[in-house]
Amino acid sequence: MALFLSMGVVAAQTIELAISDPETEIDSQFSGEPITLFGSISEVPSSLNQTPFDVVVTVRGPVRNRAVYRKARRAGMFLTESRAYYRLLPDTYFVLSNDAPEKIADVSTRAELRLAPMDWILRARIGRSKLPDSYDTALHDLLLSRGQFELKPNAVRFISPTFFAARWRLPNFSKPGVYTADAYLFADGVLVGRTNYTFGVRLTGFDLKLWILARNQPAVYGLLTVIIAVTMGWAGYAAFRR
């Protein structure tokens, strides 16, 4: 249950974050939800008073294990030839910024902060070199095309020079669990502040009861499933019997 609890605000030296909905609830009608993360920049040093800030916010969903299969033609058939595995890769990953990240920070800074989805793919993969290969690139492209990974270079708007809002939408396939938002503040390409914020997405109502039953009492859940199926079959038969 602790998995679903919101973890609260973590203050940093120069940025404070707050979210529009600290705990998003998923019920049967859930079809995605817009979320806004507000950021307030404080304790700005006098040397940076006239410098416009750039902000990159990354939002990571709960982690999952993945396999990537590669097919090849063998004896005329396209069969799975080989596969690669990824441990604890974020199921969803959003990169929100006020401009393209490559315009905000240099390559090494972006890699060090793991701003790009590929950085997380490389970190999650099991047992290969540190350079992206065709499996990593394919996984990256597949997750981007499915909307599980998303790059939104205009999702951060400055409301005032020291106050910004990052907007995105939790997709309808969002997994319940803990989500982490990392906010990075740049001035002239230099990282001048960072903080993070965790928030919960949790099941509620009937969905939650089902989830708990399936996880905690699988034997009862299995029996219940079979009883429901047989009862539904009988009900269908009885309803249509003349």
């Binding site: 997994k175 079959g233 249509f240």
Partner: protein
């Protein structure tokens, strides 16, 4: 109307699920098959994880085949004794199949096995049925096209413990029936289907069961074996999404009745011809998947930690 599925962790359209259930349920009631082969690919397109799709379809198959089996039982179109022996073999086969499924997943040859398995089995069964039934219809013969031309296999016929199955008028070794049930359970669990597609032809051609009892007895077997499979999925991995299965069931139990009603009006040979065509269509779908360039050679799926190297 959109609905969030708590175990599949995705949102789907309720009306699509119910509609899909009706179509698949009709096919189930008409031919005595589960329909998992049709349903699972649709759910995968929706973004339902494969293990949840397969497990939830098993629950749906239990509902639709219960509905269909009861209808056939009421019309005395089920051989309960032969069905019970089949189920015995089927459950053991299903348990073996689930274990083999896990092993093949670990060694990474499951996809190939499923593709080739479907193509070979359905292709050959569909062709045999199509040829036999077409020949029968063209001749205008009144007797059913049992496997007269198939040679009797000595060791199968010589199996001990012969039993009389009065309802279907058969006299044969209980081991022969158990073996058929076991093979269907094994193949069904391995290929992630109930096995109705293979069971109906097996009952007809191997056990030489009269057409009248084919569908009902097949549905009885499906109900029991898929109930065990569904329970195993729910118990081992909690991967059955009751909400998803329930939405499919609403459509499919109604569809099963529609299918059974239509089945009553169609002559047995026409039913067999239709089934042969559907079996061949499914085989063709797998052939396309196997032989045509897939567009993207890479695919990704979420996997449980136990499948990581």
């Amino acid at each position: 109307m959109l609905i969030y599925l708590p175990i599949a962790e995705t949102t789907v359209n309720l009306f699509h699920l119910v509609g899909l259930g009706i179509v698949v349920g009709s096919i189930s009631g008409l031919f005595g098959v589960g329909g998992g082969f049709l349903l699972t690919p649709f759910l995968l397109i929706y973004g339902v994880p494969p293990q949840v799709a397969v497990a939830s379809v098993a629950a749906q198959v239990v509902a639709s085949s219960t509905s269909g089996a009861l209808s056939h039982y009421r019309r005395r179109a089920v051989d309960p004794k032969l069905g019970a022996v089949l189920v015995g073999g089927g459950i053991v086969g299903s348990l073996t199949g689930v274990a083999a499924f896990d092993w093949l997943s670990r060694v990474g040859q499951l996809d190939a096995m499923i593709g080739i398995g479907y193509l070979t089995l359905l292709g050959s069964i569909g062709t045999i049925m199509l040829v036999e039934t077409t020949r029968f219809i063209l001749r205008g013969n009144r007797t059913q096209p049992t496997a007269r031309r198939l040679k009797r296999r000595g060791w199968i016929e010589a199996m001990p413990l012969k039993v009389r199955f009065r309802v279907s008028g058969l006299y044969m070794s209980v081991f022969k029936v158990l073996l058929v049930g076991y093979m269907i359970g094994l193949i069904g669990a391995l290929l992630g289907i109930g096995g109705g597609f293979i069971l109906v032809p097996a009952l007809l051609y191997v056990l030489r069961m009269p057409s009248k009892y084919l569908v009902g007895t097949s549905l009885l077997h499906l109900t029991a074996v898929m109930a065990v499979t569904c329970y195993l999925h729910a118990w081992r991995s909690g991967s059955v999404d009751i909400l998803l299965a329930f939405c499919l069931m609403i459509g499919s139990v109604a569809g099963a009745q529609i299918g059974t009603t239509f089945g009553r009006r169609l002559p047995a040979e026409q039913l067999r011809l239709l089934l042969a065509l559907i079996v061949l269509a499914v085989a063709a779908r797998f052939a396309v998947g196997l032989f045509l360039y897939p567009g993207n050679l890479f695919e990704t799926v979420e996997i449980p930690a136990r499948l990581l190297p």
